[in-house]
Symmetry: C2
């Protein structure tokens, strides 16, 4: 009760409760409940899509004895967990191809690029398959909040000067007796010294600046220059910075330290799972027709490598194809399901990457995010290759309405805007940014968007739009022998952990169907016996 | 003016000012001002001590043409930057030897273990000598604050629930008009929405809990469990936690993200500098006598490897020997200097290390610090080897008066207390901690303490006790041809950057003496000519 121990406790507690409910219910836990390894023997499943959800579903089904065929339209696995390396081509609908030309060791995580500590499912697969992880620096006190007037606040200054002002104001109100009804005598007595420490206040609870916000003079040797704090930034100036609330970004649960990234690129976890499949993924398999009957599922696809048309048959299908793509595939889904699929609205999400000499390190920035707002939203500094010659920097990572507007601009304009954002924060360095690459996820074939917004226009208090809509509920149910799975069908559509939870749910759903069918199918025989 | 840009700006600004003052004054900057590479040609310097200050002094003197002999009493360089590895022995005065028995890849940084982003001097040497760095996770939202009653608050809960309460209280006071004299109408209008975002308040500025503090239920797939926040921890309970102020530890400038550690151990930077000396360090050279005359400095030492007595002569000496050690060496310092050396009071600092299976990772802790208070002070989790089998964990890192009391206990008791601290936070895991090692720096030969406290009993507002005392000023001056250097003579006695600043100052001091002597020594000849 005292400490809400976060997701770990939550999952553990729920997993505990699930024990008594059996292994059908634990789909949202980081690991599937134990099931017999021969459970699926003699049953076949086709998994459509080797993104994170498809890979996890295929692996977990194989572990339970199913015969699994995993079809992937692209020439690589990982889906949106896409790491672009030197020589790779970015194809987007309506845009000229972009070819990556990176210096050695550089890469660009075009999709997901960070893993929170509480995403124990994804972290668990990385551990199981020996994928090395490293710290992703998601918050640096040296990064900036940039106001519309171009004024930059160091994160350390914004955070600590604001805390100083807030503490001073609250102490003043407490000392005036203004909160005597809200605070007990004990609370009041304890709150005042706390505020002194919290805000680094002096004397009679006055905030006169703090070395936490940076130094006016640096400590040295001898008596040449003693450490001194600068004067605080006035409260009005802090509040006038349009990005000021982003100082709290690091305390969004999904963004809290410690965060991770796979060494060498986010695709490495997907690659690690695929490497451990008994039957490896079939690449370049562009699905053209999905048909199911009472006895099974038929899939027709084109091998885009050779142009050959192929068909496959299985008892069940796990379909992880993004809904905007699936809406264009010939399928005999039930009418409500087909209608729901056609209605899912996907968001926009964009990244613009450059490589550059590490000018941000000269400014003592090592990883983290600078918030600039507008259509480019932020600058993201690399967490790897510290002190190397060159590094990868994002000049834009935007989504939502600003991201939608951004994606409609010509690529050259997007690149120019991202470069200008970097130049405005790091004067003189915009032109050092080379090898630009743009990803507008709405234009990426076989994705057509980064994640859905189940309730367009509405956003919950948390990070994610509310997902609990009729369409969400319907698509979370199997349509006959076809089970849908993807991060889109989780409550965290923008996270691989959501894909994993959905994949686990799909395994449970197939097992549940088998159990039900087994009763139905056995009954006539039992009657005949 | 707007942004106090911290040490970088400070150093750059000061360095700029120094340009016009010439290269004598820039000793506290991260890099020494340019000096001719042949400046010291024909002059010799003995540097005593191959800790960080001695290494930097030796390297920089060599770069300027001096002939340098670097004497080190220990069998290794690095001084307090001491990385203990499997098979190494920890010798302490009055204690039995401890031999490290670690699993492969584990090590223990017995001294400094983290580098702040603004310590550009140390980071610069690491870069120059190709010493790879990795991120040191100094703050994890999954770590704990542990009250005396044993109650644990997750850092994420403490930080975000406190911010929620503080924001709610301040909003209440603002809305009551209690701060109308302190705030302008504009500030008031901007402050309220800011507080809503800052504290994650609802409706009429009420704090009802936040997912930032952790989840009561975790988001999953489908509709089985939607993300919900827990109820907030009451303000009185937060305030009752004796460690509550330590939530702000991460905003101490010296502790702010991004922090680093050298890959493989802190000694790697020292080793990297030593590897680049023209004349490598003389190890096992235990200095027994220091004599200076008008013409030079004579040093007598024992080669402790062979027992051979040796003597050396040079024009100048940079002495980095810790003052408690130096006080015991036969030397002809001036009386005030000898008296000052004898009077320097050193602090206590202790670490207790264990290796263990990574049970903290099961609790979603990856690096960072748990604060427990008392004589053991904190638990420090490793930032490297994520997802490995075993890791290094500190059950104690204490200094100040609690550290002094701790160091007086028998080693077995120190180990038991450190283990108990870990057990109290991670029940059932105390006994999994094996291979204990204790370092009490006051007992370590050739160190006899981690750093001085120039003003015992007094502490400044910042992290460091005020250093500006008569003894500090005196020892920051050369005593004839002997120049003292070490972190102890900087304004940050606990940091390698302080050692570096002092070493740079010692180079400048020798060059200044040379210039002065050159005038004096030339005069008679000029008169004779």
């Amino acid at each position: 009760m005292l400490h809400h121990i976060g997701a770990a406790g939550g999952v553990a507690a729920v997993a505990g409760a699930m024990q008594s409910m059996g292994w059908f219910g634990a789909a949202h836990a980081a690991t599937l409940e134990p099931m017999p390894g021969n459970l699926g023997n003699g049953r076949s499943v086709i998994v459509l899509g080797a993104g994170f959800a498809g890979l996890v579903a295929a692996y977990e089904l194989e572990q339970r004895g199913f015969s699994v065929t995993l079809l992937e339209a692209r020439g690589r696995v990982g889906g949106k967990a896409w790491t672009v390396r030197d020589g790779d081509t970015i194809k987007m609908q309506g845009e000229a191809d972009q070819v990556a030309r990176f210096s050695e060791g550089l890469y660009f995580n075009a999709g997901p690029a960070r893993l929170p500590s509480f995403h124990q499912g994804v972290l668990g697969y990385a551990k199981r398959f020996g994928v090395p992880l490293e710290v992703e620096v998601n918050s640096s006190r040296s990064a900036y909040l940039v106001g519309k007037n171009g004024r930059k606040l160091r994160m350390r200054t914004a955070i600590n000067d604001m805390r100083g002002h807030v503490s001073e104001l609250l102490a003043k109100a407490v000392n005036q007796g203004a909160l005597d009804q809200a605070l007990s005598v004990d609370e009041k007595a304890q709150l005042l010294p706390f505020l002194k420490a919290y805000g680094d206040l002096e004397g009679e609870y006055e905030f006169k600046g703090t070395t936490r916000s940076g130094l006016r003079t640096s400590p040295g040797a001898g008596v040449s220059s003693f450490e001194t704090a600068g004067a605080p930034v006035p409260l009005s100036e802090l509040l006038a910075n349009e990005q000021i609330a982003m100082m709290g970004f690091e305390d969004n649960l999904y963004m809290q330290a410690t965060m991770f990234q796979p060494v060498g690129g986010m695709d490495q976890i997907s690659v690690g799972i695929e490497r451990n499949l008994q039957q490896r993924a079939v690449l370049n398999a562009d699905v053209r027709r999905i048909r199911q009957s009472a006895s099974g599922v038929d899939i027709a696809y084109i091998d885009t490598g050779t142009g050959t048309a192929r068909t496959l048959k299985a008892d069940y299908c796990v379909c992880t194809i993004p809904f905007p793509v699936l809406a264009g595939i010939d399928a005999n889904f039930s009418k409500p399901v087909a209608s729901a699929i056609a209605g899912v609205v996907y968001e926009d999400s964009n990244k613009v990457a450059f490589e550059a000499p590490r000018f941000w390190e000269q400014d003592q920035i090592y990883g983290g995010l600078t918030f600039v707002g507008g259509e480019t939203s932020l600058i993201w500094y690399p967490s790897w290759g510290l002190h190397g010659e060159r590094g990868m920097i994002l000049g834009c990572y935007s989504s939502g309405p600003p991201g939608k507007a951004f994606a409609q601009r010509p690529l050259t304009e997007q690149i120019a805007m991202a470069r200008a954002a970097i130049e405005s924060v790091h004067p003189g360095h915009g032109d050092e940014c080379s090898a630009p690459l743009v990803v507008n996820w709405r234009k990426v074939p076989y994705s057509l968007g980064p994640w859905p917004n189940w309730t367009p226009g509405a956003r919950g208090r948390g990070e994610h739009a509310a997902t609990d809509t009729p369409a969400f509920r319907l698509l979370n149910q199997p349509d006959g022998r076809i089970v849908f799975a993807s991060a889109a069908l989780s409550q965290t559509p923008g996270w691989q952990e959501g894909a994993l939870a959905s994949a686990h749910a799909s395994v449970a759903a197939i097992v549940r169907q088998m159990a039900e069918r087994s009763v139905t199918e056995r009954s006539p025989r039992a009657a005949a016996a």
